[in-house]
Amino acid sequence: MSRQTPRPEELELPEFLMPYEASPPAPAPPAATAAPDLHQSGLWIFILGDMTLFGAFFAGFALQARSQADVFAGSAETLLLGVGAVNTLILLTSSLFVVVATRAVAADDRPAAARALLATLLCALLFAGLKLTAYGVELSAGYTPTTNLFFTYYFVLTGIHLMHVVVGMALLLVAWRGLRREAGGVSVSFVEGAGIYWHMVDLLWVVLFPLLYIAWLP
C-alpha cells in the first residue's frame, strides 16, 4: 500500500453523513418554526388511530349483521364460548399485572416490575395458545374464513387482534429484559408505552368478545 489510509476527518463525506450538530451549527430554532414537541404523546396518535381502525371493523360488522341476522346468530353459536370467556379473564388479569408493573417502575422497584411483566407475558402466551387451539377446533369442524360473512369477520378480526398480541408480547419482552439489567436497560417511558399498548390490546378484546360471542346468545 503506497497510500496511507486517510483518517476519518480527512474523508470527503456527503454532508448528510456528518454528525447532525456538526453540520451548520444550528442555533436554538425560533419558536415559530419549531416542530411541535409531542414526544411520548405521539403514542396516542397510534393508539387512537389503531382503535379507529377497529372501530371501522366493528361498524362494518354491525351494519352487515343487520341484513344477515340469522346467519350471524347461527354461526356465533358454533364458537367456543368458554374459551372466549377464559381468554377475556386472562387478558383482564394481564392488564392488572401491567398496572402493577408500571407502578413498580415509577417507584423505581425494578425487580418487582420485571416479575409483573413476566406474569403479563405468561398471560399473553396462554391467550395466544388458547386462541390458536380454538382456531384449530373451528377449522377442523369445517368453518373457514370463507364459510360466510360472520366467519370472515370472526377470523379476520380475531386474527388481526392476535397479531396485536404478538407485537405486544415483543414489546413486553424487550421491557422485561431491560428491567432485569442493573440500570439504564430500559426507560420508564418505554415500560409505560408498552403498558398503554397492552391495555389497548385488552380493550379491543373486551369489545370483540361480546360482539362476536355474546351478542348472539338467545
Partner: protein, 233 residues
C-alpha cells in the same frame, strides 16, 4: 445540498397521492373497481366501455407512481442523519421504497394490458385483472418494513435536536396496521376483505395517499427548518 431540490422531493409526496388517486378516478377504478366476484364478461365490459379514458388513467397513474422515488430518497437523507455511520435502517427504507414504487407501477401496466386489446377473450382479461388487483394490494411487506424502519430510526435518534418529530414514528407504525388487511384478498371473492372491499381497496388507497402526503409535508417542514437554521448562521 440544494434546498429547492429537497423541497421538490418533499412535494413529490402529496403529488404522488393526488396524481395516483386522480389517475385511478380517470380510469374508473375509483370509486368502485371491478369486483372479485364478477364474471369474465362483466370484467371485460369494464375495460371495453371507454377504452381511451381508461388507458389515459392507467398511463397517468403508472407514470406518477414514480413520485415515490424522490420521496424515498429524501426520507433516506433524513434517516441517515438519525443513524450516522451505520445506516442500516436507511438502506432498508431505501430498498423497500424502491420496491414499493415498482410493485405499484406493475399492476397499472397489467390493467392497461387488459384495455389494450378489448377483443381478447374475457377469460384472459379476467386472468390479467386478477393478477393486477392481487399485485396491487397483497405485496405489503416492503411497505410495512419501510414504515417500521422509519419509525425505528426516529425512536433511536440521539441528536440533541430530533431530526423528525416522534409522532411521525407512531403514525408510521399505525400505517403498518392499516395495511395489514391488504394480505386478505387472497382468500375472498366477496365481502369487505376482498380486493374491492372497503377494508382493502379504500382503506389501502387512503392509507397510501395519506402516508405519502404526511411524509411529504413533514419533510418539507424539516427542509425549511434546516434552510432557516443555515441562513441564521
Amino acid at each position: 445540498m440544494n434546498t429547492t431540490i429537497k423541497l421538490l422531493c418533499a412535494w413529490s409526496g402529496p403529488a404522488l397521492a393526488i396524481a395516483v388517486l386522480g389517475g385511478l378516478l380517470l380510469a374508473n377504478v375509483l370509486p368502485f373497481p371491478p369486483a372479485a366476484f364478477m364474471s369474465p364478461d362483466e370484467i371485460a365490459r369494464f375495460y371495453t366501455q371507454s377504452t381511451t379514458r381508461t388507458l389515459t388513467g392507467f398511463a397517468l397513474t403508472s407514470f406518477c407512481m414514480g413520485f415515490a422515488f424522490p420521496l424515498t430518497g429524501l426520507i433516506a437523507v433524513y434517516l441517515v442523519r438519525m443513524e450516522g455511520r451505520t445506516p442500516i435502517l436507511t438502506f432498508t427504507q431505501l430498498s423497500c421504497g424502491a420496491a414499493t414504487g415498482v410493485l405499484l407501477t406493475t399492476p397499472m401496466i397489467l390493467m392497461a394490458v387488459c384495455a389494450f386489446r378489448p377483443d381478447r377473450s374475457p377469460e384472459l382479461i379476467q386472468l390479467l385483472n386478477d393478477a393486477a388487483y392481487l399485485l396491487l394490494f397483497t405485496p405489503i411487506a416492503p411497505f410495512c418494513i419501510q414504515n417500521t424502519a422509519i419509525a425505528m430510526a426516529i425512536f433511536n435518534d440521539r441528536n440533541p435536536q430530533p431530526v423528525l418529530p416522534r409522532w411521525v414514528a407512531f403514525a408510521n407504525l399505525w400505517l403498518v396496521f392499516l395495511f395489514l388487511p391488504g394480505l386478505l384478498p387472497f382468500f375472498f371473492h366477496e365481502g369487505p376483505f376482498a380486493w374491492h372491499g372497503v377494508f382493502v381497496f379504500w382503506l389501502g388507497l387512503a392509507s397510501f395517499g395519506g402516508w405519502a402526503t404526511m411524509m411529504g409535508l413533514v419533510l418539507r417542514q424539516a427542509v425549511l427548518h434546516d434552510a432557516a437554521a443555515a441562513a441564521g448562521t
